[in-house]
Amino acid sequence: MLFTSYEFIGFVVLLVALYYVLPKKLKWPLLLLGSYVFYYFAGWKFLFYIFGVTGITYVAGLLISANKTRSDLQLKAMKGQDLPKDERKRFKEANRTKRRRIMAVGITIALLVLAVVKYTNFTIHNINSLLTVFHISKQLNFLNIALPMGISFYTFQAVGYVIDVYRDRHEAQRNFFKYALFVSFFPQLVQGPISRYGDLSKELFTPHPFSGRVVGRGLERVIWGYFKKLVIADRILPAVNTLIGTPEQFKGMYVFAAMMFYALELYADFTGGIDITIGIAEMLGIPVKENFERPFFSKNIAEYWRRWHITMGTWFTDYIFYPISVSSPMLKLSKWSRAHLGEKAGKRVPVYLASFVVWFTTGIWHGASWNFIVWGLGNFVVIMISQELEPLYRKFHKKFDTSGSTTYKTFQVGRTVLLMSALRLFDCYRDVPLTFKMFGTMFTTWNWGSIGDGIFLQLGISRADYVILALGTLLLIVVSMIARSGSVRDKMEKRLPMPVRFGVFALLVIVILIFGAYGKGYDASQFIYNQF
């Protein structure tokens, strides 16, 4: 069930209606049932994966929690007895180690499942390439595994849960079914956000009474999401596909066009999908953590990554970046490098090393291919460079006061947009060398003169499509500008009477219905009566 299918829309309408009709006790079980039905539609075999990951992390969480409770009690009892401080400490450490082991086993199994389904064939592919390089005629066979829908997202969510239980951020969820709902909550199953148990559980199991206002607000967000997805992302899609699908034909300026078109498509697609996700959850009275904060308005790439796919970024920071960079080998390395490379440079070694790991994993998490790995590392390089240039920037800013300068801000935003869009070219082209080559043609093949030759009208979208896209993008930008000072829906609620707001969203629905790129393309020529 794709978000844009009739089935999904029917499913959500039914689920929301049932949610508010059913008695309190049955509300969260309905969500669980609905989530599994939703997942079932992706393929019944995939149910085993989600069920397995849920089971393993559930048990790990329980065991860790149980150990913690038990050892805390015993520690308390020991306090009364007159024991040497060392012994308590040892006891505490021993239990902590136990918990750490349980955590390690739990998350290792969960991640192993992810690794096997996601990376086996990629690994085999690389081994085969190596075998060819060494002129060994033997080749390994690929495994026939389909990637279960959303596995990267729910595995991360479940792993985060186990770590948070270990870190004592919250207790383990004892009710298996409630925990299963946390892992499988259907709106965020396909593309995130990756929620934390501590955040999502606050409202997930609470029975919410019907409120027209809450449902209406959620619906507003859903509509906006569909607008982005159907009117913008899916409309520009044919042009993107044509441009990147025939690289030998579209070089130079067309690579630039592909880069910008793809950036727009990805942004509208991803944020639109998240708007639908969060909007549906809001309709059920469940707040979900925001995943985007107008990322293209960022001053630099580091900030962009704090505002794009936020829940993934914080996941990597909390569960990979920090643990690695404050691990004892890292601290030792830090000491050593500071002693040998000097204070300034030495300090950076551990940070950069941890960043490298984070960006490598970020890359490969996005997809099992070198394109994504190089893309991830590309981000790493850009962030490191901007970090290294920091003193230079400071000098520059001391000399020229740019604070409050709109021109400079625009320059920064433009830089962010260009850099991030350029890196995304790795998503587009077939392989890494081709991406580099195509990127290069932007500077070597100077064909901007052909911009008006009408080639853009032959990419699969018409002049009218461009008009819709331009207007849609304009609306996107205007709404983002308004959102800088707070939620647009809040502002509308404060300033516009309900019928006017209703009218605005009704208009948006009509715009989606008519100008959305969905359904079969109606082709009049299909209908011309041919003789027979």
Partner: protein, 76 residues
């Protein structure tokens, strides 16, 4: 505490750490700064701030950080 402030000053000299209470939430300290901080603290106070303590609340003000260091020292 003074030692901690001087470490912090090294990272961002222009911040008044006696009053600032949103070092992380206000995006004054980024993750790079926090890592350097943890390394310095490990050196100076012989305390390892492990990943589980790396939440904004513990780094938002000099005082909160100081309390964390003291708590971890006590634990040992």
């Amino acid at each position: 505490m003074d030692e901690l402030i001087s470490i912090l000053k090294e990272i961002h000299p222009d911040v008044d750490y006696s009053t600032a209470t949103n070092l992380v939430d206000g995006k004054i300290l980024d993750s790079f700064d926090i890592i350097s901080l943890v390394a310095e603290i490990a050196d100076t106070f012989d305390v390892v701030i492990s990943a589980e303590y790396m939440i904004p609340e513990n780094f938002n003000s000099a005082e909160a950080l100081w309390n964390l260091i003291r708590k971890l020292q006590d634990d040992d």
